[in-house]
Subunit: 437 residues, 2 copies
């Protein structure tokens, strides 16, 4: 059923082996093998036991930075502001605009405290409080993305988190001024130029110089992901991200060249990234393939894009728009581009997607940078149960209960019956103490 | 500084070694040792590979249930309804009232979809969707609590989850009718009488008979907790709970006998449970200790309570109410009882607590059963970053973006600058495609 193309697989949803082929295409498991696990465990215990000394040692070993004190691996707001002024006017302006839009969007997400009082005077409610301190991991080297700084930090800032600590490895001491400028704009309090599992350990346990945080967010390599999973419980973590993916649904209204570039923009991340386009018109699929093949040689990242499309990309022919909807909900894509004339009409039926980009003009990349919604999104089908990173990830709730004497009597009778049914008699007697005799 | 008491430690916050003593008291790490890990990994792979056959085999081995088909380990709504009619009128009435109150409270938690349109016609928003299917783990044997069924299932039902699957081990085939009745009241779709890591595996991967779910919630032993941690990512999970704890702040307005019973109701859960009372009046602390020692011999679970109080309990003397607040936020307790005359006045200063019980009449146990708020709460200090289980745990969000031609032009210019700053030229060109020329 797979028509072999040099460039990208073509599948038909009506083939008998389509289900199997789709499962294979989507399959992804971010496995940390036993060796990575052991190395990470060692690093975590070293940092936990020896604090700054271990941090300095690991940073010397992994990032080839020879320092004698943590102060040499620390940048304050003044240094971040310097970076903000050092970048080009265009870049500063773009960062400002992006941050402002992200901030405005996230303001809409703020949950609020609430309470209500019942007839007998009993009050029930929920109180929302920001986390005290958050750690943001920012990858160094090639994948150092200022946009990622904005997307991880701004929601924490909007949530009201007082202290936002960023860690970013700087192999060989190379600082990325754009990343530091983004940290300044977003509201980072201070930066430690450390990375890897050792940075995660420092944030989770605290050291003499690095304060313990309440939650760690941000993407990282397999060592970072493994470390985050290990410290989960000690601190909160965001989701463990898989490779980035896009599912484009096209009814033919968007130019094929635009669609090809939208697929490329996903594929250029890395070879594991996944770009899939679905349509119900063969001629349109031919057209998109033609665009892909024509435009591919013009891309700076041609090799990565080609590898990604070959390995994990697909053009899928469905019978109808309805079948496309079924496919969307089965894949639960991170990014869904509804490149159709009437995207509104689709919305009700889309149950699972991290972010939905509606209509011809809404390129997914606008969401990556500056539309406003977060670009940290659930990958690998986890949109079935996860949400975009948001303000709600940096706040938590406390239940409130205040019983009147009347309420304690009414509720105590119910509690007493249930507690005795569970053989928890201290529970029952604690309730019975407050009954009216 | 610790005045040794037969029954419970007495600490003073002004002692020089108090910080150290408190850290020791609070220390808790739920470690799965290498052996548990290996056994769980094996069970997970077996169920993943062999489905129902493996489930039947493990259930035979661990729960001593000899069955030949999964249908013998499956209970439908009709069987649950039978249980509902079989329990006593008092119990049925108590379950109904508790479920109704829990439902009413959780209705207040429902997040709503929202969107807004900017001047140039660009629409941004967020769409809230319930999960499709949820799995609820309910421990079997001694710790089979109907209240836990209500607390885990009702929020999912309120969230709009269509299919709520419950698993509960029934060692030697013993069913708990109260648990089944609670499942009926709460809205469980069907029950599988399986447990342990094998039940978690079945819910995470699906078998011929057990459908794959999107999220697994509910408490369990170390095997269940280890399995949940391992499948996290494949499915969503709730938090991994530690032992239950209470922190009572008392200004002396609540009778000492009531306070003692409130502490007992926490301690009777198990020997690792933690009950701490804080006051700034020595005479009052003496009084509470006297109540504890007098009432302890009258308790059915005296041995467990005694072990818990000895091992993990404490009466702490602070200098002032202000110092008590500091202690609250440092401990970030699961349950906080503000047994004080003016609990309202404390609320603003309490930053970290799972649930706050305000005033003399608000026994913590009312929250365990029927006040309305959830009794699944963050333990071991995780209230610093986690919330009570709620409707929001059974829904997820999708970002919405629909750019007008104007908006695509405006945003595309910003995205292009930032993408080129990140050397992602396919991103830049995808944005530039939509610019007005």
């Amino acid at each position: 059923m797979t028509q072999a193309s040099q460039t990208i697989a073509r599948l038909s949803a009506s083939s008998v082996d389509f289900d199997q082929a789709l499962d294979t295409l989507l399959a992804w498991e971010g496995v940390s093998d036993r060796e990575v696990q052991t190395r990470v465990d060692d690093i975590l215990s070293e940092v936990r036991a020896r604090g700054d000394d271990a941090l300095i040692e690991f940073t010397g070993r992994f990032d080839r930075l020879s320092v004698s004190a943590m102060s040499e691996l620390t940048l304050g707001r003044a240094r971040l502001e310097e970076a903000y002024h050092a970048i080009s006017d265009d870049q500063r302006d773009a960062l400002d605009q992006a941050a402002e839009r992200i901030r405005a969007y996230h303001e809409h997400q703020k949950p609020t405290s609430w309470q209500y009082t019942e007839a007998d005077g009993t009050m029930l409610g929920q109180k929302v409080t920001p986390l005290d301190r958050v750690g943001v991991y920012v990858p160094g080297g090639k994948a150092a993305y200022p946009s990622s700084v904005l997307m991880n930090v701004v929601p924490a800032h909007v949530a009201g988190v007082d202290d936002i600590v960023m860690v970013v490895p700087t192999p060989d001491g190379v600082l990325n001024e754009l990343v530091l400028a983004a940290a300044f704009v977003a509201g980072v309090t201070r930066v430690f130029t450390i990375g890897g599992a050792q940075a995660v350990a420092a944030l989770a346990y605290g050291t003499e110089s690095v304060p313990r945080v309440d939650k760690i967010v941000g993407p990282g390599n397999i060592y970072v992901a493994t470390a985050k999973r290990a410290v989960f419980g000690q601190v909160g973590i965001d989701m463990i991200a898989g490779p980035s993916e896009i599912l484009v649904i096209s009814d033919g209204t968007t130019p094929a060249d635009w669609l090809a570039m939208d697929l490329f923009s996903q594929a250029e991340h890395d070879e594991d990234a996944q770009a899939i386009l679905v349509a119900w018109d063969d001629a349109h699929l031919d057209e998109v393939l033609e665009s892909i093949e024509r435009l591919l040689p013009t891309m700076e990242r041609e090799a990565i894009i080609r590898a990604s499309l070959e390995k994990r990309g697909a053009l899928i022919r469905v019978e109808s728009a309805a079948e496309a909807v079924t496919l969307i909900n089965r894949i639960a894509p991170e990014h869904l581009e509804l490149s159709v004339a009437q995207p509104d009409a689709w919305l009700d039926q889309v149950r699972h997607a991290g972010a939905i980009f509606m209509g011809t003009y809404t390129a997914e990349v606008l969401g990556d940078y500056c539309a406003g919604p977060n670009h940290v999104l659930p990958t690998s089908g986890t949109a079935r149960f996860s949400s975009p990173l948001g303000v709600y990830d940096f706040q938590k709730r406390s239940s409130l209960i205040q019983c009147s004497a009347e309420g304690a009597d009414r509720l105590g009778r119910v509690a007493s019956v249930l507690a005795r049914g569970e053989s928890l008699t201290a529970h029952a007697r604690a309730a019975e103490n407050r009954l009216k005799s």
